[in-house]
Amino acid sequence: MKVLAFGIAREIFGSATVEVAAGSASTAAELQDVLKLQYPRLAQLSSFMIAVNGEYAQPGTTINEGDEVAIIPPVSGG
């Protein structure tokens, strides 16, 4: 599964996308856990959310093949 990264997440990943093994995360909460294991610096953030198809995901939101998945570090627009 390809995960889009923005802001500080892109710097942590060193890339605008990161690849997560298919099947290792079927919900947003599982994906957060997998990413935190792979990239410990994510755990130091104030928080981070997962977006699925351009909408904020709940912890139990399922991720299906072909979904656009993104990691959303704390926003700071305006």
Binding site: L4, F6, G7, I8, R10, E11, Q44, L45, S46, A51, G54, E55, Y56, A70, I72, P73, P74, V75, S76, G77, G78
Partner: protein
């Protein structure tokens, strides 16, 4: 009527306001964000804005629609910059016109407060001696 935009070009405040003027409106409230020269005592060299554009536009649109449901407003415009900005540049312009001013003020303030909480846009402050993504760390 709603006008939402993320732009890599400078925002044109005058045309934003001109768009929101209406013979049915008695009051227009405009919020203009500007890049400050200092953050916590440190001189700001520039800001870099990163946006998850598709989702950001969706979230900005939600704000505008929520606001139209909550207050009797005539027109709502939310424009946000992406890219590199210098001190004095304008990251965001919000314009709300309404028959009566209370709705324009309340709705405009709701829009900027909510934008800062929900819209996936990120700001990196660059100083002489370092840089930081705003709000990233506790």
């Amino acid at each position: 009527m709603i006008d939402i935009k993320i732009s890599s070009e400078p925002l044109d405040v005058s045309s934003c306001i001109a768009w929101a003027m209406s013979p049915e409106a008695g009051g227009i409230d405009v919020f203009i964000g500007t890049v400050r020269n200092m953050t916590k005592g440190k001189q700001v060299v520039r800001l870099e804005f990163d946006a998850y554009e598709g989702m950001a536009l969706k979230e900005m649109n939600k704000i505008a629609e929520d606001l139209c449901a909550k207050w009797p407003v005539t027109k709502v415009l939310i424009h946000h910059r992406a890219g590199v900005l210098s001190v004095g540049d304008i990251p965001v312009v919000i314009v709300v016109s309404a028959a009566h001013r209370a709705a324009a003020f309340d709705a405009c303030r709701y829009a900027i407060d909510t934008l800062k909480e929900t819209v996936p846009i990120w700001k990196k402050e660059v100083f002489e001696d370092g840089e930081q993504w705003v709000a990233a760390h506790p």
